[in-house]
Symmetry: C2
């Protein structure tokens, strides 16, 4: 093997070159465990006849490592891990890792073979938008890197490098037979289709086959959805890994034919609802498991948000790890009680009813002398919500389970939620799912089984927070079809007031909605994280000041 | 006047060129109001004989604007504001603004004169570390910009540009007589001294006088501390504005002497405690006022953190806008009650005692059937803390005041605080102040007046959360001198376990402390913001993953 930035050698391979694509989960920060996982996968791939195994972007450290990249012992730890990998023989490993030397810190791919580091490539295009902050940490690579193995010249790219035209064109010019790109590409709706389109376009334009390896699994608010693939030089997909699952796939390159073999069976293609649902399941599962919790507690209200959250929790963790608590008060309707119980029974989870009257009355008693005769307002509603939050947190403290919250993106957007009340908890499963999508996902989940896991009535009844008599969401908010359409324009598409009104929405409703979004930033800032599924999720992807004088019009 | 990137004209000025340095607060997002403020200041400066007025970095939009920079109507709004400034005559305005054109978005300085934009400079060095994310938004400028006015050639720089050697050297080479640098430089301990050192070094090295203009005021967790100044080419300070105050200072440049006049009286130099105290006052004041709150509520415990927070709130807002609430329970000592009352009386704020027994008992009653006979543990302590948080939030909801919290940096670091309990609130005044600094600031504040505003006993008694009988912080944590020293090494200096131990700390204590810091990230993520005063504040300056497998050793 030789590493070169110039032209390849021209040996004739005796047989096709077999690549293993290690679509795996690597845990942020745990370098030693990640190296150990690489060892296991590399050994397995070699035993299955692979010549080369490819790990995702920054796999040795996990993605996104955030300020762990600034820790002074990083270089030392990475060096130890790479050394630990050096006794793996007879397979080339392409390892994503942070490279630290006196030139700077780089997002890199190492080429390891039989105990030697044969070369490395530094990522040239560092995304610093959306959820990405790579220029906070990394210096830019300046050179293309190609290496020869068994007569095949392989060019290396990392993630964003492929979204730009130049790097792959330069690899082609320098004689690449095929390109390997390693990625840490987070899920968002329809992401796999944009990957298909990109890979097809690049492969065809350069007449180069591309091996695309993505990681998988949840890290805080991001879920990596895999979907690794191999694309022929004419843009056809030769191999594709399933989404959201750890998977080792193999692809053999015939250098005479200049093409890859084709897999026998393609993975299942996922519907829009299915991919979001799976992302939510993986995001919750990995957060809970990697945080070391034995299970989760969820407050059931009888409404659709907590119903769907419960389903996702059961699908993520198993019914034995999910604890449902119904906390009725004066305004809780009989059908809410029935439906909450029905959901819990149907999903076979622990179910407790804990009336909150004593807690609310105690708080009211305490506050009475301070409130004098002040009229009831949302304060009293918030007290109910906060009593519930306090109960769930007390159960969490006592028994060690994680409280998961049920606020959807529509509510988080307009602040239709109580801070330290229904917002109390460590993970908000539906945080990036609009209410209209909640309905779609509930129907999707119901279709998966013979009998509904979410009672039909939960889906069809008008949504209510049940914090005062006969309260309906529609008393305070526009209908959800309208609300979500306006929110999508404002948040996901960044349109302004005038542009949204010009789409035919009533100016007063648009004004009210946008004001609510702007003035709820303080709530969102203290909210639990939740899995990103949209093109613009609250959290690290949308960074707004709390004190904000921006005027709507 | 002519703008040139080459050499200056050589006119002889008849009289010195008079500059006004507009050290002012510009509110993030409110472009129209900021333009209006510029108009007022420019008119005032012109009437005082100024030839040139200089506004801080990005003053037209405020700093840091975060994702407001991505809003599609930004370019249009900036254009309108610049147009609105075009009828100001007879004074040159140097205006910090975001420049949007088909080349990209730039962090820029416009040179406006008599209704015309005579030129603009684009910042070349974009900080993307610490609290800064400028590469998320801005493209890099590529050129030096100089302009001539009344025979003086003025070179422009923006903030980070001066921290690098090349840009000012290039301005010198291209014939600058003096350099104007506009800044949005946030406060941290000892920052003004590092500015002095930098300005002296650059001025002397290039033999160029420098006008340094900084903004002032709080924006979320940042406080801009002003300290604008004029430095002669030999490094001496000719003019300096006071810290933390809006101020228009004037400096006249004599082009024959190639130097500035010198101000009659230098501003007061601030001690380490004084500058931190003032930063905390300004940070709280601007957050409260710009969020539109009429006042603040603070829970007094009788301890030092809430005592100091109360002082800062009174100094920031006035006694009539501060509402103190003491919420005793079984474990509250008599001296806590006495001392809380004494503080409130001494500071002349509204004081309410609200015993929490009913609230806690109601909650316990509610939980009893669920807890069965589980032993008491921190759950019961958290219930007390959360009952207090709920009461403060209820008062906030009912009467419209902002709840401010009192958690210090030591507590936030190790998670010695209850989420949704004592952490409930919108602004954490001492968030970036270690406990040992809390003592120093309390003593500082006491020295400012004839009689102590914080009773001596509050300062000398051993700290306790009073959540169980005879509880002391020292039961759970190392003594604060040790704890803060370890925390400073780990958080502020980014040292690792081995390095900290090598400084002479017991490995077991270091291990315990670092583990607590790492495992409390989920609490900090949902915590209120607070003013940055250290070199590394929690929040946007220290971005750690929640799920984090980094091993200490």
């Amino acid at each position: 093997m030789s590493t070169t930035e110039q032209h390849p050698h021209n040996n004739q391979p005796l047989q096709p070159l077999k690549f293993a694509l290690a679509q795996s989960h690597f845990r942020v920060g745990d370098i030693a465990a990640n190296a150990e996982k690489m060892r296991t996968l590399a050994t397995q791939a070699r035993d299955n006849g692979a010549d080369v195994i490819i790990f995702p972007e920054l796999a040795l450290l996990g993605y996104p490592p955030e300020d762990l990249l600034l820790r002074p012992s990083l270089a030392e730890r990475i060096k130890s891990a790479l050394t630990a990998l050096s006794d793996i023989s007879d397979i080339v490993m392409i390892v994503g890792y942070p490279h630290v030397d006196y030139h700077g810190t780089f997002n890199s791919a190492a080429i390891l073979h039989n105990g030697q580091q044969k070369g490395f490539y530094h990522k040239q295009n560092l995304p610093n938008y959306g959820v990405f902050d790579e220029r906070r940490y990394f210096d830019k690579g300046r050179n293309q890197v190609l290496f020869d193995y068994q007569g095949v010249t392989i060019g290396l790219l990392i993630c964003e490098d492929l979204w730009i035209e130049e790097p792959i064109a330069a690899l082609k010019e320098q004689g690449a037979d095929l390109v390997v790109t390693i990625n840490a590409s987070p899920f968002e709706t329809d992401k796999q289709n944009s990957r298909y389109a990109l890979l097809r376009e690049r492969a065809r334009a350069q007449q180069l086959p591309i091996i695309y390896v993505n990681c998988v699994g949840g890290q805080d608010d991001l879920v990596f959805d895999g979907g690794s693939m191999v694309v022929q030089s004419d843009g056809r997909i030769a191999h594709e890994a399933p989404r959201f699952l750890e998977h080792l796939i193999y692809a053999s390159y015939d250098s005479d034919q200049k093409s890859f073999d084709t897999q026998a069976r393609s993975p299942l293609s996922l519907s829009a609802e299915a991919e979001i649902y799976q992302a939510l399941v993986v995001g919750l599962r990995d957060y809970v498991n990697h945080s070391g919790f034995e299970g989760v507690i969820v407050g059931l209200s009888g409404g659709i948000d907590s119903a769907l959250t419960l389903c996702i929790a059961v699908d993520a963790l198993g019914a034995d790890k999910v604890y449902a608590v119904m906390m009725p008060y004066e305004y809780t309707s009989q059908i809410s009680l029935e439906d909450a119980q029905a959901q819990a029974r149907r999903l076979n989870v622990s179910y407790t009813v804990c009336p909150i009257h004593d807690a609310v009355n105690g708080m009211r008693h305490t506050l009475a002398p301070l409130f004098n005769d002040a009229k009831p307002d949302t304060t009293e509603e918030n007290i109910q919500a906060r009593a519930r939050g306090m109960i769930l947190m007390a159960l969490s403290n006592k028994f060690g389970h994680l409280v998961i919250t049920t606020g959807n993106k529509s509510e988080m957007a307009v602040g239709y939620a109580t801070l330290y009340g229904d917002m109390a908890g460590g993970f908000d499963v539906l945080k990036d799912v609009y209410k209209t999508q909640v309905y779609a996902l509930a129907n999707y989940r119901n279709r998966l089984e013979e009998t509904d896991v979410i009672p039909e009535r939960v889906i069809t009844r008008p949504p209510s927070a049940e914090l005062r008599p006969d309260q309906k969401d529609a008393d305070s908010l526009p209908d959800y079809d309208t609300l979500d359409a306006i929110l999508t324009h404002y948040i996901d598409e960044d349109l302004g007031f005038d542009e949204i009104v010009s789409q035919g929405f009533a100016p007063a409703i648009v004004r009210q909605t946008l004001r609510l979004v702007d003035s709820s930033e303080y709530k969102r800032r203290q909210s639990a994280i939740g899995t990103k599924v949209s093109h613009k999720a609250f959290g690290r992807e949308r960074r707004y000041p709390l004190v904000n004088g921006w005027r709507l019009e």
